[in-house]
């Protein structure tokens, strides 16, 4: 049984700016299955963020049809269909880590005992058990970003949208977090949309790689990964991985030759 969680049918998204219209997305077609790990990759300005925000109903397409969990994106947002992770952790300095993770739960009206149980569970999931009482400034950048992932997971949305979540972190921390994220994805079976501009990151994580190119922002290639779901870090040295990375790089290059 394959259920489409997200479908985009010929969506355009044009920003009206003082310098005239900016075509952030043009003719975007996409289907994402339940449980997919989808990476969006492309040079900056190709509309990755805009596409993710449109799925999250933080932007509205100017044309085309977009559906999330069978609803229009805004209905899905109101039904709390997804958790969103930004590049910066965005934790409140005046709340503890547990308080931050519990914030969406408070807003959604979860009972207190339930909140505590959920906070403990997701902190454990991102390997931050025991840090609930700490304040954000007492944690490293990588730990803060894990806390923000825990916050996005706390209310059991089955879609996780992440916009360059590890972009601001150094490579070593990033590797560890990527491994942990894959582990988390396998455990929870969530559908993940993940924006990146790193080829190895996209190839390592994804079941589906969406290659995009700018002016106007569009999808130039969608690659289904042949890699197994069990992926130790050293899979990156296998010929399959290298071939896939090459294919992504080719896709990016083709996108560029348009202009």
């Amino acid at each position: 049984m394959t259920a489409y969680v997200i479908t985009a049918d010929q969506i355009d998204l044009t920003f009206q700016t003082a310098d005239g219209p900016v075509h952030a997305l043009k003719g975007v077609d996409l289907t994402i299955n339940q449980g997919d790990f989808v990476s969006f990759i492309g040079p900056s300005g190709c509309g990755k963020t805009t596409l993710l925000r449109a799925i999250a109903a933080l932007e509205a397409p100017t044309a085309g049809r977009l559906s999330v969990n069978g609803m229009d994106p805004d209905a899905a947002r109101r039904a709390r269909a997804y958790g969103y992770v930004f590049q910066a952790p965005g934790l409140y300095p005046w709340r503890t880590i547990a308080g931050n993770v519990g914030l969406p739960l408070e807003i959604m009206g979860f009972a207190k005992a339930d909140r505590a149980a959920r906070i403990a569970r997701v902190l454990d999931l991102v390997d931050l058990a025991g840090f609930g009482g700490k304040y954000p400034w007492q944690l490293s950048g990588g730990m803060q970003q894990r806390a923000s992932i825990a916050r996005a997971l706390a209310f059991d949305a089955d879609i996780l949208l992440m916009d360059e979540p590890f972009g601001a972190l150094d490579e070593i921390v990033r590797d560890r977090l990527n491994e942990a994220l894959l582990e988390l994805w396998r455990k929870t079976g969530k559908t993940i949309g993940f924006v990146t501009h790193s080829i190895p990151e996209a190839v390592y994580l994804s079941t589906k790689i969406v290659v995009m190119s700018p002016r106007p922002g569009r999808i130039t290639k969608v690659i289904d990964s042949p890699l197994p779901t069990q992926r130790p870090l050293d899979i990156r040295d296998t010929p399959e991985f290298i071939a896939l990375a090459h294919e992504v790089r080719e896709g990016l290059r083709e996108g560029h030759s348009y202009d």
Binding site: R53, R77, Y92, W94, L103
Partner: protein, 287 residues
């Protein structure tokens, strides 16, 4: 205490300049007196007299200090000659006006941030209210309230509030809008209501702006209260003390009252600064 030396140096310089100015400004009167009684004053005697006049143009620092000491410690604090009593009258009206003004400023800012119509309509009026000289408004407020039989603390507190709501309004409009786009997007992704966004995000983020504006507001409230005590008829408070001092040429009394007012203002601003440091440190917002 590396600051002590420069601070002391400046203080000494101020006192020295003050003495020189006192001698200069009071010299005419001393010279006229001497001419009238046809005595010739030696230099030392001349200086001594300029610094010990009953009603000097500019009292010397030690005269003001003596006046202050007498006003603060030399009187029963229930006496009408006590600066503590007058100070308390002024302080209580200041605090009441500060409270009213701050709440009004915060309330209006909340309205402006949440409501388009208020955003466009309130600010011009608020600005206009501050361009009218407070000296023109104060007597009207006093008279209007007096005609309704209300005197004492409330009319003065209203004038204090008139001056102190404005900095709080401006600071809080900025403060309530300081939460960044990403934080607001997160709230939107959780489908948070406006009141949830306000209490959990906008209000806490605005705290640094609130405290900064409260410091300005409390000093303004004190000024407003003193101005409210100036219109004829007021017999209590530092403003009344200033006014009666100027009626009777009691310059020492004026200066003593001024110093008490300055000390009150400094104390209030310091107190708010102290609460600010505690609160912002606890909130992780201190820089």
């Amino acid at each position: 205490m590396r600051n002590t030396l420069p601070v002391l140096t400046v203080l000494l310089a101020v006192v020295a300049i003050w003495y020189v100015a006192a001698i200069g400004m009071n010299s005419t009167w001393v010279r006229d007196q001497a001419a009238r009684s046809e005595t010739v004053l030696g230099m030392g005697e001349f200086v001594r007299q300029t610094l010990s006049l009953d009603r000097p143009v500019l009292p010397a620092p030690h005269q003001v200090a003596a006046g202050l000491w007498d006003g603060v410690f030399g009187q029963k604090i229930t006496s009408k000659r006590s600066l503590v009593w007058h100070g308390w009258i002024t302080l209580s009206a200041t605090l009441a006006g500060f409270a009213i003004g701050s709440l009004a400023g915060i309330g209006l800012a909340v309205g402006i941030v949440h409501d388009r119509a208020m955003n466009q309509s309130v600010m011009p009026w608020a600005v206009a209210s501050q361009t009218v000289p407070i000296l023109a408004i104060a007597p009207m407020v006093i008279v209007v309230f007096a005609s309704a039989g209300i005197t004492g603390l409330l009319p003065k507190a209203i004038i204090a509030a008139w001056l102190s709501f404005f900095p709080v309004l401006v600071g809080m409009v900025k403060g309530l809008r300081t939460a960044d786009a990403m934080q607001l997007d997160l709230m939107r992704s959780w489908n948070a209501s406006r009141s949830q966004v306000f209490w959990r995000l906008r209000l806490p983020s605005s705290m640094p702006y609130l405290f900064a504006s409260l410091k300005v507001a409390v000093a303004a409230a004190l000024v407003g209260t003193i101005v409210g005590e100036l219109p004829a008829g007021a017999s209590a408070g530092l403003g009344a003390r200033l006014l009666s001092g100027s009626y009777y040429g009691q310059t020492v009394q004026i200066w003593a009252a001024l110093f008490v007012a300055a000390a009150l203002a400094a104390g209030l601003v310091f107190l708010i600064g102290w609460i600010e440091r505690l609160a912002l440190r606890r909130m992780g917002l201190a820089r």
